[in-house]
Each structure stands twice: as structure tokens, then as C-alpha cells.
Symmetry: D2
Subunit: 348 residues, 4 copies
Amino acid sequence: MSQSMQAVVKTSAKPGVEVREVPVPSYGPSEVLVKVDAASVCGTDLHIYDWDPWAQGRIHPPLIPGHEFCGTVAKVGEQVTTVRPGDFVSAEMHVACGKCLQCRIGQAHVCQYVKIIGVDANGAFADFVVIPESNIWKLDPALPREYGSILDPLGNAVHTVLAAEIAARSVAIVGCGPIGLFAIAVARACGASTVFALEVNEHRRKLAQAMHADHVLNPATEDVAAMVAEKTGGIGVDVVLEMSGHADAMRLGFQILRTGGRVSLLGIPAKPVELDFARDIIFKGATVLGINGRKMYETWYQMEALLKAGKLDLSPVITHRLPMSDFAHGMELLKSGEASKIVLTPAK
Amino acid sequence: MSQSMQAVVKTSAKPGVEVREVPVPSYGPSEVLVKVDAASVCGTDLHIYDWDPWAQGRIHPPLIPGHEFCGTVAKVGEQVTTVRPGDFVSAEMHVACGKCLQCRIGQAHVCQYVKIIGVDANGAFADFVVIPESNIWKLDPALPREYGSILDPLGNAVHTVLAAEIAARSVAIVGCGPIGLFAIAVARACGASTVFALEVNEHRRKLAQAMHADHVLNPATEDVAAMVAEKTGGIGVDVVLEMSGHADAMRLGFQILRTGGRVSLLGIPAKPVELDFARDIIFKGATVLGINGRKMYETWYQMEALLKAGKLDLSPVITHRLPMSDFAHGMELLKSGEASKIVLTPAK
Amino acid sequence: MSQSMQAVVKTSAKPGVEVREVPVPSYGPSEVLVKVDAASVCGTDLHIYDWDPWAQGRIHPPLIPGHEFCGTVAKVGEQVTTVRPGDFVSAEMHVACGKCLQCRIGQAHVCQYVKIIGVDANGAFADFVVIPESNIWKLDPALPREYGSILDPLGNAVHTVLAAEIAARSVAIVGCGPIGLFAIAVARACGASTVFALEVNEHRRKLAQAMHADHVLNPATEDVAAMVAEKTGGIGVDVVLEMSGHADAMRLGFQILRTGGRVSLLGIPAKPVELDFARDIIFKGATVLGINGRKMYETWYQMEALLKAGKLDLSPVITHRLPMSDFAHGMELLKSGEASKIVLTPAK
Amino acid sequence: MSQSMQAVVKTSAKPGVEVREVPVPSYGPSEVLVKVDAASVCGTDLHIYDWDPWAQGRIHPPLIPGHEFCGTVAKVGEQVTTVRPGDFVSAEMHVACGKCLQCRIGQAHVCQYVKIIGVDANGAFADFVVIPESNIWKLDPALPREYGSILDPLGNAVHTVLAAEIAARSVAIVGCGPIGLFAIAVARACGASTVFALEVNEHRRKLAQAMHADHVLNPATEDVAAMVAEKTGGIGVDVVLEMSGHADAMRLGFQILRTGGRVSLLGIPAKPVELDFARDIIFKGATVLGINGRKMYETWYQMEALLKAGKLDLSPVITHRLPMSDFAHGMELLKSGEASKIVLTPAK
């Protein structure tokens, strides 16, 4: 096995990355060295690339980013028992501490001491990545590599949709980035009766159509509240999945929610948002759920079950495939608004 | 409007029924007179027809049976505000008291003072039936009459399936009478990952295939436990829906349930059943839910939503259409084991 | 029986009320005429009295306010079956329509067509009040009249506390008006491990002490976040019950909530509130529940059970008893900040 | 530190035990060596002592039994970070595998590969016991040692009571062994409105009285169903906690459950039980929960919170204190029916 590998590296505290040779990482007794088969790009990677204020506060270069991937086990530490070389795997990249209150009562997805591989430690935009055994997720070898590389954001969608009842309920998905688009598929597969997709970007609206949302609406030009009211007998939707993080979109989401309905909030607003709590939550008797990451590991089992059953056609969301060395081009595509999920493949 | 109508009447305390002319029923200020468009036959109707011990203890002839139907509103009492003549409707035939603890805390489906139309009062095997406004369910005129006539048992299926989480879960449906067959469709529509259908009757197994169960098994000739274990990685199914009421089948259901799984019990065993509670419930950490009727009226909203969304193809279950005057022939078909759901149509 | 009665009447669209003779109201076939034994004053009554913008938009004089009371059944309509003259009763004053989606799926407490007796129709600040039978709640004759008159706000507290798990959890009650004070008692009775009471008003803090809150804190002068952190091992409280409706207090409530915790929002902010949704709800994985009214009628059964079991000592909250004719004096007491719950007694 | 210690040892496959010197056990890098301060006796220990059929099938001598204890950390393995020598601790003695489906979705309490310390590995009836760090539970030094030694069965009670709603609900506890007695305290602390305690043994009934059950009934001599009906307005109890494992008692529990109520099953029946599922579960719309062990580690947090808050007076249940060397005498006391929880103290 080679001692060096190609990697996308944030080398210093400024915009951009370098694609270069670095040593293949070493692994500990309870860790797994995985040969990356495919890795996908997340909006977070763009923040890191652009070196925006969030990245400046969180990232400590040098860092190999990348937290969406699948690969083949190359080597395992001596204490590893659940996988072996040759296994096809992905991983939960939030490494929870396992010892805090949240971890011990089934809320590891909001562990306060979490480390994220690809953010706080070297990630998957490389030929190899090191993962603790606890976080490895073994995959069916029949799963397409592209699907294997997007389980992290698909898990966000599954967690958001299934955080409360969805069967036989109308749902509005606010914001159709990749996770919103995945949520269309998940909601439909799990019995949502009507799916409204709200999105201002035309390219994303086309993808929402391709994902078979029942009604794709543009809040910038259409009277969404009136249209939802018309389609729901004046009642509003049972469920709102907020995937945009935009203040106006969030308020619109609460507005179209029916009295007694449920909102799952996943999109991250960049700053505080003003909301009419009295009208939109209290008198409405609404249930609002903050959603972070994926449930460890219930969400993973749910994803696996839905994928194996062939219930999710996610192919429209994967708009681009690039060699990993074209990482910078991927960043440009993302900024253009014409790409959704971009899958990168290492050279070897 | 005519003063008399044709009806299927249990005239006296013995097997059989008569099809004959009776007066069109009168209705009170808060009641609705409905012209029956289609009515379906339930196993309960066979008990009444055959005058078995249950019927002898419950039924007081003369009685018009029939509790699955749809129709068109003919007349409404003076206090009725939510429907008017010409509306297409079905009805919840369990008339709950509205005043007991259960009714007042959202458990009206197990009201202890319930009266069932078609069992305790004249039902829908007639040209007209009288329904309290509170129990009327308005239907979309586009809904096929056959579907409109089977909402009662479809509601049993929906209540059973959705009594707890079903999305991304494997499920075994034990017993494939009409409700079990409906449950296949509902579970699939609501995201069940794998549906096992267990049934000893060959005709019903064929229908389970037609409903697209993933695995149709015959407990009389196949090692169901071994086959379920093989298909679930040795874990068992997440959810068991007991629809048979047979002791052996119930025990088999508990056996194939995974540790930590959920059982919904709908089938009514005729006598006490012996179960290894320690192994099958306690050490298993199982959740067991007794299911009765339909939730008033959450189940009805769920049915409506799933039907409107086109998520349920129930057509294979409706095996026979007969004029209502051929009621006795319908009884013979049911006894033959070659019929599933039989829809009756009044002459006028 | 006399034809006239004394009542507190909002006679016209301006501040103030008149105490004067009006006719004893008539009642319909499904209604109950109740002789008022005691009635309590709510903040809403002060809004009506002061004729603030909310009152100007909602109230149509002439109106008898008052929606917290108990009394003795005087007369019943001919269709009434569940109570009879002489019965001791209170009532749910939110009269839900019974026909909308929310009413039919167990969410009548957020019925969109609700009418509130004492707000939208004549209420209980009078010798007699008329209540629909459906909304009457029969009381144990042994219950003290003062307790019988405060079931409406006590129900708010019970609904808020029991909207999710409370046993063995730490809880912060933000705002110690009467409902907040009641919530201290309810939370303690239902197993809350530690109760923090936050309140800027000194009189209310003394009452919170009298209700045996574990820690009574003044957000205006104390570093509440630091004190809660210290008492909870740096984790924060499991549950926040927001009873103040003040923006700063709401934000403080979210701040001291532990990651993965639950917030119930009952207090009504007068205008939109700015909140850091990312930090306070989304990354925190928080569950936020909008609370309105009382669950019909589960909350009433819960109240009854807790009161009968002697688990709630509410006496410190009842700070004043007045003849109903001193209504205006009660208003002044409320404005002084030196009163909590005021109980009024009719002259006869 | 001494190389040998005193221990209660099941030396061979026959009734009885020996108290003798054995080597102090060695511990691994992620394990903790705990000096036992107090250990309590469970019915399981009596099965092992008597060498009954269950023990013959499960136990492989030589074995040191004992799975209820508290102690002081003596030594820690090199990878241990959460405790250090001198810490006061107890432990969850069910060592879950951490890798199976159940462990990974929050159901570790029913891990299918569980090992129980004191059953499958050497336990706490000794001067020292070895515990994996993952299973150590750190205690407040202020907790009385007797309470520290009974957290395992107290956890059973907490898990059983809090498996569903208990506040403001009537509850019947069927069987008043130590766990049933603890459940009285837990149910009362968590807001149960009325607690019925059912028990045939007079000594246990006296203890149930001492634990302040509202009604202590003897099913052998009293008409429990009639008495419960009388006290609940004919409705039955909201919740049944089955702690006896006796078939007749289980059936009685289901009989007195109200329609729509909840049963938690903890007591282990020795063989299959015949139940009228139609009447007792299905038509009743009952929820039946199989309860095993303690939730890891939510139950432990709940216990800790209730104990720290001073909400549980468990002292009546601890009927005997003995030196550990008097283990055989403890067994005789248990068999006499005159002991409830027996706490053993090591000599040094």
C-alpha cells in the first residue's frame, strides 16, 4: 500500500483549497482506514472553501474537508470486530462523546462534545479517511456508489421527515436544496398525501418537479399562502419541513401550517429571526422540532430500509460527477445555482 | 319519495334472512336519511346470518344488518348543518355516547356505551339508512362507489397500521382477510420496507400477491419463522399486525416479532389464548396494542388523505359485485373461502 | 326564581364596567343555567376593563365578562341528561364547534371556530350564567368553592406542564402570574425534580416561595443563566414553561434550556419576538410546544384527579376575596402588582 | 492492597454457596475495580442459591453472584476517564453489546447479546467487583449506602412506572415484592392520583401500607375487582403495573384495567399464561408494554433526579441488614416471606 495519497486540503486561513499529495493517515486500535470510493459536496464545504465568517471561527487549517462519502475498508485496528477489509461502508461523521447526558439518553445527535470528521478532523475528500469503528455504517455492496456517498444529507432528510407522523399528512417543504429534494422523496415514500415544494431558484424547482412534488411553488412570484389554502380546503398543511434557513421562508412556513400542525426546523438561519410566536406557535398549538444531524443510529437503519426497499429514487438530485481533483470547479458549479448534489471520485 | 323500500331483514332468532319491503325509516332533527348506493359484506354479517352464539347473544330481531356502505343524502333533519341532500357520504357506524371518560379524552373508538348501526340498530342493507349527523363522513364525489362502501374495514386497517410507527419498518400481516389485505396496501403506502403476508387459505394468498406483499407465506406448510429470520438478518420483523384471531397464528406473530418491536392486535380470538408472556412480551420489551374500530375521526381523515392521493389500489380485494337481493348468495360465497370483499347494490 | 340578577357589565366601548341589574338569561334545550357561587378574575378581564387595543378588536358590548367560575345548577334544558339542579359544577368556557378538523381529531382546544363565554358571549361575573351541557364539568361537592372558581387557569397550568414528560426532570417556570404559580404546584406534584421560578415582581416571587419552588430567581437583578448552570451541572433545565409572554424572558428561557430539552409556550407576547433559532432550537434539538387553553377534556380529568388526591395546595395564589360588586376594586388590585388570583362572590 | 478477598461463591452445580477467600479480580484497560460498600439480595440470587431449573440452565459455576450494589472506586484501567479512585459508584449490571440493532436504536435494555454481571460473570457479593467503565454510574457521596445498593431494582420500578404517562392517573400495582413496593413510591412521587396495591402476603401488605399505597388489597380474600370498580366510579384503573408474574394476578390486572388503559408487565411468569385477549386487550383498546431491566441510561438519570430531590422514601423496603458472610441466613429470611430487601455489607 502506498504511503501517500491525493487530498483536497485547506492549507491556510484564506479562501481556496489545494489538491495535493499528503501521507495516508495512520489509524488507532479501534479505528478503520477506508479507501474513498465517492464523496459528495455539501454547502458546508463551500463555506470552508470561501473562508466565510463561520469557517474562520470553526476551521483550523490544515484540514482535509469532506463529510459525505462511501468507500471500501482498507485496514482495521486490532480491536475492530464489526467490519473487515473489503467491506463497503459509509459513516456517521458526527463523532459523539458517548459520555454526556445527551449521549446516554438517546440524544447523541446533539452531543455537546461532538467532533465532526471533515470539519474538526481530516475528512473524506482524499483517497483515504480514518473513521472510528463506532461510526462505521456497513452498506449492502449492491448500493450504487453515488447513493452511498450521500447518506449524510439523506439522513438529515429522513430525520426531519420522520421526526413525527408523516403518513396521510400534507406537507410543505420550504427550500429545495439537496436535503429538501431528498425530503420530497422520503415524505412521498412514507405516505405523505400531498407534497408542496417551495423554492425561489428555478433550477431547484425543476428538480423538485423531477422528484414528483405535487405542487412546486415559487414564493418570490406566487401567493403561496393562498395556493396552499386553496389546495387544503383553507386548513393549511399538516407538516412543514423548513430546509431554507431564510427568515422570510421560515415565517411563510409557519403561516401555511395548519392549527395543531408540526414544523421541523433544519435550515440554519444566519442570524436571529423575528416571528409572531403568539399567532404562529401559541394560538396555533403548533409543535416545533429543532432537527440536527441524524439520530444515531435509528436514522441510518431507516435510510437503509428505505433504500433497500427501492422506495427512494434520488437520481435527479445528483446533477454532477467530477474527479475529486476538480474540486474547485465543483465549488463554482454550486455557486452558479445550477448544481444540486455533486459527487466526487478519487483518481485511484 | 316512496314510503317503502327493499331491505335485507333478520326477521327472527334463527339462521337466514329475508329480502323484503319495509317502510322507509323516519329520521330525527339531528339525523340524516341516506339513499344507499353500495354496501359491503363483513364477517359479522355472516355471524348474524348463521345465527351463531355471538349473534344469539347480541342481535335482537327484527334487524336490518349492514355497516359498510356509501350513499347519497336524501333528507336531513332540521338541525343538520354539515351535509345536504345530494351529498355523497359514508358513515362511522359506531355511534359513541360522547359523554363517557373514553369519549371525552379522545378514545371514542372504545366508548363503553357504543351502539353499532347494523348490529344494535337498523343498518345499510336496504335502500335507505338513517345516520346521526355526528357520524356522517362526506366523500369526494369522484371516489368510486365500491371504495366508498368499504371505508369501515379500510379504516380498521389504517387504524391498525398507523397505531405506531410504520415507515421504514418491516411488517408481518398475520391473516389476509379483507382487512389484512387492505393493511398490505396501507403499510406499503406508508413506507413499510418489507411486507410479509401470512395466510393458510390459497385464495387469500393469491390476493396478498395481487396486493404486492413482498413475501406471501403459508404457515400451514412453510417454516415461517425460519423464512422471516432469513429475510431479516435473524432479527425478526419490526411490526406484527395480527388480523387472524387464531391462537396459533397469534403465537407465531409474537415469535417472529423482533425484540423491541410492536404488535397491533385486531383479529378477535373466539376464546382465551395461551401465550408465553415472559419470552414473547416481557423479555422482548414488546409493545402490544389492542385495536378496535377506527379512531373518531382521525382514521377517517387519514383514509381520505391516502385515497385522494391515489396511494391505495384496493381493487383486488373486491372480488364480487351482487345485487343486494342476492344477499344469501353472497353468504355462500363467503363460506366457500373464494370471496374476499363482496359489494352489494340496491335495486333502485 | 327572580327575573333579574346583578351582573358586571361592559356597557359600552370605553374603559370601565357597570355593576347593575340585568335579566336572568334564558337557556336552550341543551343548555344549563348555573347559579354562580364564585368567579375569579383573569388578566383578560383587565384588558376588557381597560379597553385596550385587543379588547377593542374582540369585544362587542354590552357584555358580561368572566370565564373562571363554579356554581350550582339551577335549571337544565329539556335535552340535558348529565347534570341536574343542585349539582356543583364548573365549565370549560371555550365552546368548540365540534365539526372542524381540529375538533374531530382531538385538538378541540385549538378549534378555529371557538366561542369563549365571557369574551364572545355573556360570562360568569353575574348571579347566573348559561353553559352548553357539552361544556359543563361536574365537581365533587367537597371541593372548596375557591378552588372550583380557578379551574380554567389551573387547567392552563396542567396542560402546559403535562404536554410532555415532567417526572424526574428539572423545570424552569418563566413568569409567576397565577398560572405560573399553579404550574409550580403541578410540576412538583407530578415529579419534577427541581423547580426554578423566574419572576421580576417581588410580590410574585414571594408567592413562588410560598408554592415551594426550589429556586426563586429575579432575572432583573440575578444572573439566572449562571445560577441555573450551577445548579444543573452546566447542563441547563430539561423543561421550560414560558408563562410571561415577555420577549427577554422568552429568550432567557430558551437560553437556560438544556440541549434536547422541551419548551412549552403559554404566555402571549404582544408582538413578534426575535429569537436565535439556530442556537436556541435547531442546534439544540429542542421541542417547542405551543399551548392554548385546556385539552377537552383530558386536562379536566387530570385536574380533577390531582385535586381529589390532595396533591395541589393552591391556597397561596388566592390573595384576595371580594364581593362581585367590588369588581372595580379588584381591577385596581391587579394593576398594583400586589394581587395574584382574586375570587369574587355574588351577593346572593 | 490485599491480593485476596472474601466472596460468596457458587462453587458447584448444586444448592448452596460458600463464603471464602478468592483472589481480588484483575481489570482491563477500560474497566473499573470497585470496593463493594453494600450489596443487596434479589430473587434471582435465591434461584441461584437453590439451584432451580432456571439456574441450572443459565449459571456456570464457579460464580460470584450479586448484581445490586454500590461501592468506592479502588482502581481504574488506563483508558478510563470518567471516574477515579475514591468515587462513590453503582453500576448497570446488564452489559449490552453496543453493536446490535437494539443497542444502536436506544433499546440496549433488550440487547440480545447482553451479559449480566452476577449471573454470567462474577458479581458483587464480594469485597471487590470489576465493572466496565461504560456501565459505571457515579453517585452523589451524600446518598445513603443502603439506597446506593438497591438502584438496580429501583430502576426496574422507575422504568415500569415511567414507561408511559403516570401523572394524574390511577394505578394498580399487582404484587408487592421489593420492586412493587418501590413502584408505589415512584408512582406517588410522579403524580399518580390513587395507588392500589394488590398482594396476598400479609408481611408485604404491611410494607405496602408503610409505603403509603392508598388502598392495599388482598386478592386471596377480597373482591378486588369490585373494590377497584367502587373506588374508580366503575371505570377501572388507568394503569396496571404487573409485578407478580402469577397467572391469576395477571388476569386480575387486565380485568381491573380501564378501557383504553395501559399495562406494564415486569413480573416473569414461569410458564405460558392463558388470557382473554379479545376482552382484555383488543376490545379494551389496551396498551401492553413488556418491561425488562432499566433504560440505559435514561432510567438512571430519572432515579438520580428523584432521589436527589428527596422524593422517594424507600426505607420500609429495606427490612434486613446482614454481614455478607451471613448470606445463607439471608436466603432463609427471603424464603420465610418475612423479608423484603436485604442489604449485605462486606467485612472490610
